[in-house]
């Protein structure tokens, strides 16, 4: 479906069924050089189990129009503009990698709009190695190879995503090839430049879930700990529950495809537990 306003012209995948009014909204935000399709299994399940789903294509990615946004802060504003365009006052935000930073920043900018926050494959800061940045600038094909090799814990993740017989590894490679030239460098530069994660954590008011892949080398679990601690301190201060941190064994950065069932289980348990959770203004 398309969500349009004077500020955005966005595509959102609704999980294979129409968005139903009155159901709690879940907004999925993908990472660098990706689109909505990385969430296929999690978004389809939740859409058919009582949630209104919007799996976004970020601007300049996939089917969403407009130039890419060059900072996490701009992308967070874009997500909030999409919520406005869809007349959604409150949503559960779920972000992966770069998308986790966008979700975090959006939740900090407008706490009243965010019921829960789920951050997958996140870290603070989210520094991109010079080798990868250089490759993104000078040789995108090599950058795709590096990302693909670093994003997967195995070439044999079963049962496959979206099902048996599909290659998770090669789908990720082709999906990266589909984005326009220059998008990768833009996305990586945005991740690299973002220094606001801990400040954003200090403004959160909603229940927060962290999901890490035990074998993630792009955003290793240890690189998430400072953000988990900062969110924990903030939520304790305002009397909210501690953040939850789940580590999935034998799982790399591409966790939604490598361990789709485990990621879904973590998300739906968290969302269902906090169903009806009211944001704190």
């Amino acid at each position: 479906m398309r969500l349009r306003s004077s500020r955005v012209d966005a595509y959102a995948y609704s999980g294979g069924c129409p968005v139903r009014e009155g159901e709690p909204t879940v907004v999925f935000i993908h990472g660098a050089q990706h689109d909505h399709s990385v969430w296929i299994l999690q978004s389809r399940y939740l859409a058919h189990h009582g949630y209104a789903v919007l799996a976004l294509d970020l601007p300049g990615h996939g089917r969403s129009l407009g130039p890419v946004r060059s900072s996490i802060e701009d992308l967070a504003d874009w997500v909030l503009d999409v919520l406005d365009a869809a007349a959604i006052p409150r949503a559960n935000l779920i972000g992966h990698s770069m998308g986790s930073l966008i979700a975090l920043e959006a939740a900090a900018r407008r706490p009243a709009a965010v019921c829960t926050l789920s951050l997958l494959g996140t870290s603070a800061p989210m520094q991109v190695s010079p080798a990868l940045l250089n490759a993104a600038r000078d040789d995108e094909a090599r950058a795709f190879d590096l990302i693909n090799a670093w994003s997967h814990s195995t070439v044999n993740a079963l049962p496959g995503c979206p099902g048996p017989g599909f290659s998770i590894f090669n789908q990720n490679r082709r999906l990266m090839e589909r984005q326009a030239p220059g998008v990768l460098l833009n996305d990586f530069a945005a991740c690299n430049a973002y220094q606001g994660a801990l400040e954003a954590a200090a403004r959160l008011t909603c229940p927060t879930l962290f999901i890490s892949g035990q074998r993630d080398v792009m955003t290793p679990p240890r690189a998430t700990s400072s953000l988990v601690a900062a969110v924990g301190e903030r939520l304790r201060t305002i009397g909210r529950p501690e953040p939850e941190a789940i580590r999935i064994p034998d799982c790399g950065h591409a966790m939604m495809a490598e361990r789709p069932a485990e990621v879904l289980q973590a998300l739906k348990t968290f969302l269902n537990r906090h169903l009806g959770s009211k944001p704190v203004d």
Binding site: Y13, G16, C17, D35, S37, I40, L41, R44, Y45, H48, G62, S129, D145, L146, N148, A149, W150, T154, V155, N156, L158, P159, G160, C161, P162, G163, P164, G165, F166, S167, F169, N170, Q171, R174, L175, E177, R178, V217, M218, P260, A261, L264
Partner: protein, 431 residues
């Protein structure tokens, strides 16, 4: 982060798609001979049926053993996935039926395996799908044959019977200019000799019965989607870009940006036509693929020795093998097939139909049968078998002479093969 690299071909041929069995630790992929798979609970059952979770339901749609073969072939071909089918013909039909229907049109090379020609020229026509056959070496002919209702271009990496090398970069460019995918049959070359995805092909089919299996034991096919073709940008494939009522209004291109074709092929074609592969056959083919690199090296080196022997023999009028300098596609073969032009080729004896028959009957190591890609060397004489009803003029129109023989060179000692051929050549000569 340490530098990581992609696993290379020989490693993928042994490992891709498989891991130790989680229940018993079996290291070799087990044969899961089970028609159906138990659901944990009703919620999981519904989720599996509605593609909300990944898993196996019924072996016509997917099977754990077959899925290993599919993932291995996807890895070897650089595809986003694969579907194993009951035969190579079933793979070709599945590829076509996924995006073509009554009123559709196909542009195909005229240098095709006879079974594929039958499917396109006779059988699919009965279902309203027409095919125009073109000279595979003429890019303008490919371009001129494309119609508004065309859905794909199709050729073999090595054509039949003249071993025409398909100029995949050129033909795929013609296809893509028209917003169409290029489908290739890569049976003769296997991914070890060439990965069509690297040259511009969009969809790949194999008869896995041949070199992939390698031992002439089972029938099977594989369809691979490279994930490169942008179905939505093409605008010619509502099957993938508009709601499909046969699966809850699913818009395949929205579900998966890079693999909508495979989603529909599995959710519709395997489900409804049902030409799935037996898990036992998948197991046999997996065993074959583990040694594919080693076998193909030997197949090719043997074929080169035999082709040179025949080319130098006074009883042989010509040998059609792209590795030889006088083949019309020799230069192209050096570019696209640097590891060799496979192990199947044809040659023309200076004899009549009876001489060809005597040649075949005198062979003792070569097996006289209608197959290729076996560990054993194989031979067939088209004028007395597959094309026996045709007179010399009709044969000539198909590029086949009365003394034409097709061989598939196996893994035996090449000196023994040459000795066998010498005996047969003497028999053909004596009359």
């Amino acid at each position: 982060m340490s530098e990581r690299h992609y696993h290379r071909f020989d490693t993928l041929a042994v490992h891709a798609g498989s891991s130790p069995d989680p229940t018993h630790g079996a290291r070799v992929t087990p044969v899961y001979l089970s028609a159906a798979f138990s659901f944990r609970d009703s919620d999981q059952a519904a989720a599996l049926f509605n593609m909300e979770q990944a898993g196996h339901v019924y072996s016509r749609i997917s099977n754990p053993t077959t899925a290993v073969l599919e993932e291995r072939m996807a890895a070897l071909e650089g595809g986003v996935g694969a579907i194993a089918t009951a035969s190579g013909q079933a793979a070709l039909h599945l590829a076509i039926a996924t995006i073509a229907g009554a009123g559709s049109h196909i542009v195909a090379s005229r240098a095709l395996y006879g079974g594929s020609h039958n499917l396109l020229h006779y059988t699919l026509r009965r279902f309203g799908i027409e095919t125009s056959f073109v000279d595979p070496r003429d890019p303008d002919a490919w371009r001129a044959a494309i119609r508004p209702e065309s859905r794909l271009l199709f050729g073999e990496t090595l054509g039949n019977p003249g071993l025409d090398v398909l100029d995949i970069p050129t033909v795929s460019a013609v296809a893509h200019e028209a917003g169409l995918p290029l489908l290739v049959d890569s049976t003769f070359t296997t991914p070890w000799l060439m990965r069509p995805a690297d040259h511009g092909a969009d969809l790949i089919v194999h008869s896995a019965t041949k070199f992939l299996s390698g031992h002439g034991t089972v029938i099977g096919g594989v369809l691979i989607d490279t994930g490169r073709f942008d179905w939505e940008a093409s605008g010619r494939f509502p099957e993938l870009t508009e709601p499909y009522e046969g699966f809850h209004g699913m818009v395949f291109a929205e579900e998966s940006t890079v693999a909508p074709f495979l989603l529909r092929a599995r959710r519709e074609g395997l489900r409804d036509f049902g030409a799935c592969m037996s898990p036992f056959n998948a197991f046999q083919i997996l065993q074959g693929i583990e040694t594919l690199p080693l076998r193909m090296q030997r197949h090719v080196s043997n074929a080169r020795v035999i082709a040179r022997f025949l080319a130098d023999h006074p009883m042989v009028r010509s040998v059609s093998y792209p590795d030889l300098p006088d083949h019309p596609d020799h230069v192209l073969a050096q570019d696209l097939l640097p590891r060799g032009s496979g192990a199947v080729f044809s040659f023309e004896l200076k004899t009549d139909r009876a001489g060809g028959r005597r040649f075949v009957e005198a062979l003792r190591i070569f097996s006289h049968l209608a197959n290729v890609g076996d560990a054993r060397s194989l031979v067939i004489h088209p004028a007395s078998t597959t094309h026996f009803r045709m007179d010399a003029a009709a044969l000539s129109g198909m590029g086949i002479g009365e003394g034409t023989l097709r061989v598939s060179i196996g893994l035996e000692d090449p000196e023994d093969l040459i000795a066998d051929l010498k005996t047969a050549l003497r028999a053909a000569e004596k009359g």
